[in-house]
Amino acid sequence: MGTTIKATPEIFGHAENNFFNASSGWKSWAFTLDHKRIGIMYLIGVTTALFLAGVFALVLRSHLWIANSEMLTPAMYNQMFTLHGAVMVFAFIIPSIPAALGNMVLPMMLGAKDVAFPRLNLMSFYLWVIGTGCLLYAILAGYGLDTGWTFYTPYSIETESGVIYATAGAFVLGFSSIFTGINFLVTVNTMRLPGQGWFKLPLFIWSLYATAIIQILATPVLGITLLLLISERLMSIGIFDPRYGGDPVLFQHFFWFYSHPAVYIMILPAMGVISELIAVYSQKRIFGYSFIAFSSVAIALLGFLVWGHHLFTSGQSLVVTLIFSAITFSVAIPSAVKVFNWLATMYKGSILLATPMCYALSFIFLFGIGGLTGLFLGALSTDIHLHDTYFVVAHFHFVMVGGTLTALLGGLFHWWPKMFGRMYNDMLGRVGCFLVFTGFNLTFFPQFVMGSRGMPRRYATYDPEYQIFHQWSTIGAFLLGIGILLAFAVLVYAAFKGPKVGGNPFKAASLEWQSSSPPDFHNFLHKPVMTDPYDFDAMVYDEDLDTYIHREFADPAKVPPRVEPIHH
């Protein structure tokens, strides 16, 4: 390692000419086909949705501070929780990791210049904007939406709130999600670097690939479901409307055929992010690569066979209930396999508790609870008791927030220097992580107890017995809010004012780290060297650039010439 390395900053270090200043003017963003810019626009979008829905959540929690609160009218409360759920699910969580982080990282991980269909990618973003706009229009136009994010019939047929706007919004958001899925699936299939076999892909790619499969197979069913619901409202076609011989339980089948796999759209990319983080910050080859990879695909496919567990008390038949319960347990295995493999990866590693790793460890803790409490809900007799109580609310928040949001934050901290070429304040980042972790547990742990004691969900007022739990929960929610704010504040500050950083500050080995930070418009100024994404020994430290580069570039003679011009 004694050789002096003459790699230029433009290629591997902090690049002054990058995709941010490759072109300028608002049109260069609004009509951009560059996956990185689209990713950043997506990131801004989903973060806005997160904060908006987060404010709804805090309003809800404030209302629930006392048992018979009159802060909100029941009607307003119902609209609040509906919008919180709908915006969080459709406008934030589903696009969060795939569309924001995935867009940023996926083509670069494959050594590609862009996704396969850049225009489809841009269209997906604009559909997201339109769909979210429709969802929000339901509030702004004074209609409100009070069906719960699940739109269960017949209430959603009868209510006077803006169901059509909201369902149209969710419909459009569904297509946004489908287009992202198609794009990613095709990109991974056809645009890998020569020599990059399926088992040389980073596990984040595997998880995004599994996610794309679900997006493609499940989301269209949401589309038709919402279309039928809109028809039902406009013309009472009678398929879900019991007044005309329809079957409300059928709607639930339709809805959950999409929405249960959608749960895995939310969590699978998070698992992929965690696989990357654990490996990089332990500097160890990921343990059981193929098991983690195939468990993603297994989860994606098994996820289609378990939707009926949302219908255990809905009037579903006993036999089908039994089948769905049995298959539900089978999903537990691949999830557990992933957790065990992450732990095994840390074994004998060189663990750096940087902010991303803190989020990764939080993820294991919170997802562990979220996953294990799923057992209570998968088992039939306990589910009868716990169904539609706060236990369920706590369970899925542990998975969705404790899992996905934590992973999103971890991923953002990990790839932030790559995206912006600047480093964040690690100490403040860790403080933010601690606040998120503590606030989260304080918010949702009491809800398990409440639920098990019989507190139903979606209640605007409740028995005073539960008040103390609600108060803990409310305090925790504000703490969680502060934590998330702090995390984003650290990131935003770093993007503009943070110290400049080279192409690969964390000694990561996947391909996106072979570019400069921020990357060039064409992602790479050289042909990236195909390398194992978990072969950390291949990366060597470059003193001049203060960053890690692939050892092949360590010899000046081997640095390839620039093949892609930046400007003309």
Partner: protein
């Protein structure tokens, strides 16, 4: 860490119970016996299968706790043991793959999962399949209250059961989805419009327990709570459920009818809710949407019950939120309700003049209200 939190929370809980009992009158169903008296995790065990549910819950809890403790323990240990010191990246070599261990940690937990599934399924069938000798209680859920019709024709707004006597709830909804949930019984079943659903109840403990709607059903969803009272004998129950009799004053019958049918949307303390309060309006002119004001008299009340979308009071529109009670309520019942409204307004006790005549005038109207009783035997129109 797990054991302390429950203890700590239990202490806090105790304290809150003291504090909250002071303002218990604010709660919709203030009843001391209904305050939480179960264990830390559960309400009281009041049905035959509740203890099985609790057993499985605690079994999963401890299995999960052990796994969770191992995972988090190993994670923390690794973080300390293998932490990066002084910025030197020095991972030690170790295998990155081991099929045996992968298969082991896939298969061993599966065995536990199979056991959990089996116990859950057995408990589930116990909860769902009613024995032959269970009495059928007809349940009607509507926004936002419950009515329970017993085999002898009595109706109540609270569920009354007899201890150790199995009951099968035959449930129907008048409007949207609801769900019947009795935490102390660990029993829950959705009430689906357009069909019947069934729930099996086997009370083993007498007392009053909460009954709540757990499927979101609109504005006052959280007010759709009532009680389930378990009596020690059939006789005891009869005293509580039998009610429209000559012994009662007409307004008393009206009050009970109000509780079953109207209390979800109409208050009697003068506050407006989904519909206008019923205690002040009798004999007063009401402003109607798009129509001249109208006096609240016999005709208007009757019309409002049967054709709620005709004359809508200002402030409760633009369209009526009320379902028609046509075919669901008899003329006599309407008269009872009117006497109740009169009583609330003026305090005067009005006797029904010609009970037999009213009775004879509308005998078939009673019919549909009883229809669910025969429904189990395959009535089909």
């Amino acid at each position: 860490m797990m054991p302390q939190i429950p203890m700590l929370l239990a202490q806090i809980d105790e304290k809150v119970r003291e504090l909250t009992s002071a303002n218990a009158h604010d709660t919709p169903v203030p009843d001391e016996a209904m305050v939480h008296e179960g264990s830390y995790w559960f309400p009281r065990v009041a049905s035959s299968y509740a203890s099985d549910v609790d057993f499985l819950f605690m079994a999963i809890f401890w299995i999960s706790a052990v796994f969770f403790a191992i995972i988090v323990g190993v994670m923390i240990y690794f973080c300390i043991r293998y932490r990066r010191i002084g910025g030197k990246i020095e991972p030690q070599p170790s295998a990155s793959h081991n099929t045996t261990i992968e298969i082991l940690w896939s298969v061993l937990p599966s065995i536990l999962l199979v056991w959990i599934f089996y116990v859950g399924a057995v408990g589930f069938f116990e909860m769902r399949i009613s024995p032959e000798d269970a009495e059928d209680i007809q349940v009607t859920a509507r926004k936002w209250n419950w009515s329970f019709t017993y085999p002898d024709g009595d109706i109540s707004s609270e569920l009354h059961l007899v201890r150790d006597k199995p009951a099968r709830l035959v449930m129907r909804s008048d409007d949207v989805l609801h769900s019947m949930y009795i935490p102390a019984f660990r029993q829950k079943m959705d009430v689906v419009p357009g069909r019947y659903t069934y729930a099996f109840l086997m009370p083993i403990l007498d007392g009053k327990f909460r009954l709540a709607c757990t499927e979101y059903c609109g504005e006052e969803h959280s007010k759709m709570r009532t009680m389930c009272q378990v009596h020690i004998s059939e006789k005891d129950r009869k005293e509580n459920t039998q009610w429209i009799t000559a012994d009662h004053k007409p307004w008393e019958n009206g009050e009970r009818l109000y509780k079953i049918n109207c209390s979800g949307c109409h208050k009697v303390d003068g506050t407006p809710a989904t519909g206008p309060a019923l205690n002040t309006i009798w004999g007063e002119p009401e402003n109607l949407i798009g129509k001249a004001p109208r006096l609240v008299d016999h005709n208007y009340v009757r019309e409002s019950i049967l054709y709620p979308d005709r004359d809508i009071v200002e402030g409760y529109g633009p369209v009526s939120k009320m379902n028609s009670f046509q075919g669901k309520i008899s003329d006599k019942d309407i008269d009872y309700l009117i006497t109740y409204m009169q009583y609330l307004k003026t305090g005067e006790v009005v006797e029904l003049k010609d009970e037999n005549a009213t009775d004879a005038a509308a005998p078939p109207a009673e019919e549909p209200a009883q229809a669910p009783a025969e429904a189990g035997t395959g009535e089909n129109n």
